[in-house]
């Protein structure tokens, strides 16, 4: 059903629609995607930083900046392809309108996904900049190197959110999504604590979530901790595979819901 669709001009048209709406609502968009993670960063940087002395050989601020960066990327990307996208799908019927044009479903959904990842990147970069100014980023080069990984992670979170939207029958569905998907990634995947502090079955679950794999690469890069290259490849491969699988599943499910 899905013919291979690269990011073409139809996908670009969808992306630009999102960007235009975002620009018009820039202040409220900024509040959720930039101010919100920064508040978290300050709370944890000051609050926990005062209590926790060193963690994994780093100051707590150095430890938590990569975690917050990944978290803000995850939250913004996931929100965009779930709550926001579901509104366009179900309430506003924007997708119906777009599908009556030459834009194909896979192009529409790719545009949504890439846009959501764009918002995720925007959040991540603002956390990075503030963290860097604050002195929480030991390796500037590593931080820049981590950005493509964060971009892949954003695509992955966006695609997973889209897969949830593909199965949503009402708004209530998303409370499950946030409780059982977003919150565990916030808590168990190494954002504030190392994963190995948790019991082993929790660790095992944590490694199923894309957030763990993101942080496992981003934190060593940004802090200068050693990064096992072989493991890095595995983390990236996992993110990539999950992105593709979630995206294809979304196209398939949403196609059946809309066209059958």
């Amino acid at each position: 059903m899905l013919r291979t669709q690269p990011f073409n001009r139809y996908t670009w048209a969808v992306w630009r629609r999102q960007a235009l709406v975002w620009r018009q609502l820039i202040w409220s968009s900024m509040a959720t995607n930039v101010a919100n993670p920064l508040l978290f960063l300050f709370a944890f940087g000051y609050g926990l930083g005062a209590v926790i002395d060193r963690i994994a050989g780093l100051s707590y601020l150095e430890f938590v900046v990569p975690g917050m960066m990944a978290y803000s990327a995850m939250f913004a990307s996931s929100f965009e392809t779930t709550i926001s996208a579901y509104a366009r799908f179900d309430l506003q019927r924007t997708w119906d309108a777009i599908l009556a044009t030459p834009v194909a479903l896979s192009e529409l959904l790719l545009g949504e996904t890439v846009w959501a990842a764009t918002k995720g990147m925007l959040s991540a970069i603002s956390v990075l900049v503030v963290g860097w100014i604050w002195g929480g980023v030991p390796s500037t080069g590593g931080a820049l190197l981590s950005l493509p990984v964060v971009a892949l992670a954003c695509l992955c979170f966006a695609a997973c959110g889209l897969a949830a939207t593909a199965h949503a029958r009402s708004w209530e569905f998303f409370s499950y999504f946030f409780t059982f998907w977003v919150t565990p990634m916030f808590i168990f995947c190494g954002t504030f604590f190392e994963i190995d502090r948790f019991p082993s079955f929790v660790q095992w679950l944590a490694w199923l979530l894309p957030m763990s794999h993101t942080i496992a690469i981003v934190r060593p890069l940004m802090t200068g901790l050693p990064l096992d290259e072989g493991m890095a490849v595995i983390h990236i491969a996992y993110l990539l595979a999950l992105t593709i699988a979630a995206f294809l599943l979304s196209v398939h499910r949403i196609g059946r819901r809309m066209f059958d």
Binding site: Y10, A13, T101, D260
Partner: protein, 297 residues
């Protein structure tokens, strides 16, 4: 070469057969009305033409080519006015047109020209900067029609373009549709207003229960099914009238007689009979073919 050539179109939703074997052709430049009661399958048929709903069976050719695999080319040449407005509430009126044009890859310079033209065409030029939410139902409908024209389509499919509008707005839309027809566009529309169909359409297709009941020019259908003239005779019906040659239909407290020879029929009516004589219209055809009972609810 017909622009649309549908053969035995079928659509099933689970056990429900929404469209069961509909075949028709639409010539380039024609204005065709698809009429039918609620739930007849009009919207479903249109969605199949647009590729917004998969066919459960049948064959469809658009612009002379089988539709399989040419979804993009087909949609590029068709403008759709859906039954329920789905304008983009996050955008202003003129942005709705501009952004929609981008989905068709209309060049930006071209869009900057066309958007004000279309706003003027639909008498919305004052409202370009309004939000969609601030528009009345009639303005939304006009904007949806303007939007369907953004990529200069050859075929325009309009699903109840005038439902819920006041007479002024309907007249404006009729005028615009006739303008489009003069430009050589092909129109396929549905409506529940029979006067509208009679006024606009060269050809009518009446469907019910997912099947075509009749097809032809409005005057043709009137001659064929209701003979051109109607006598509505109040009960009690004078003796002998029911065994006469005129076809009739009992509608409760009166009976409708259909006749092609009104003076002869009137002459046969006894003095003192209470009746109304009028020219038959498309509504008579519609009610005669689809029955008088309520469909839904």
């Amino acid at each position: 070469m017909p622009i649309i050539s549908a053969t035995n179109l079928q659509k099933r939703y689970g056990a429900l057969e929404a469209v069961r074997g509909v075949s028709f052709e639409i010539e380039s430049g024609a204005c065709v009305g698809l009429l039918g009661p609620n739930g007849a399958g009009k919207t479903t048929t249109m969605r199949m033409l647009m590729g917004l709903t998969r066919l459960s069976g049948g064959e469809l050719k658009l612009f002379g080519r089988p539709v399989d695999g040419v979804a993009r080319e087909r949609r590029a040449r068709i403008g759709l006015v859906p039954q329920d407005d789905n304008l983009d509430p996050d955008l202003s009126v003129s942005q709705n047109l501009h952004i929609y044009g981008r989905y068709f890859c209309v060049p930006e310079a071209e869009l900057s020209k066309r958007v004000p033209q279309l706003l003027a065409f639909m008498q919305l030029e004052e409202r370009g900067d309004s939000r969609v939410m601030q528009l009345s139902g009639g303005m939304k409908r006009r904007l949806t029609i303007a939007r369907s024209l953004i990529a200069n389509p050859d075929l325009i499919i309009l699903d109840e373009p005038t439902t819920g509008l006041d007479p002024q707005a309907r007249v404006l839309i009729w005028r615009r549709l006739l303008d489009l027809k003069r430009e050589g566009k092909t129109l396929l529309l549905t409506t529940h207003y029979m006067d509208e169909a009679q006024r606009l359409c060269d050809r009518i297709i009446i469907i019910d229960g997912g099947e075509i009941l009749a097809e032809g020019a409005p005057t043709d259908l009137i001659d064929r099914f209701v003979k051109g003239h109607v006598f509505e005779v109040q009960k009690p019906i004078p003796d002998g009238l029911l065994v006469g040659p005129a076809e009739y239909e009992d509608i409760g407290d009166s009976i409708l007689f259909y006749t092609a020879t009104p003076s002869q029929f009137a002459g046969g009516l006894p003095a003192g009979a209470t009746y109304i004589h009028r020219a038959a219209n498309l509504e008579d055809v519609f009610l005669r073919l689809t029955g008088r009972s309520l469909r839904e609810g």
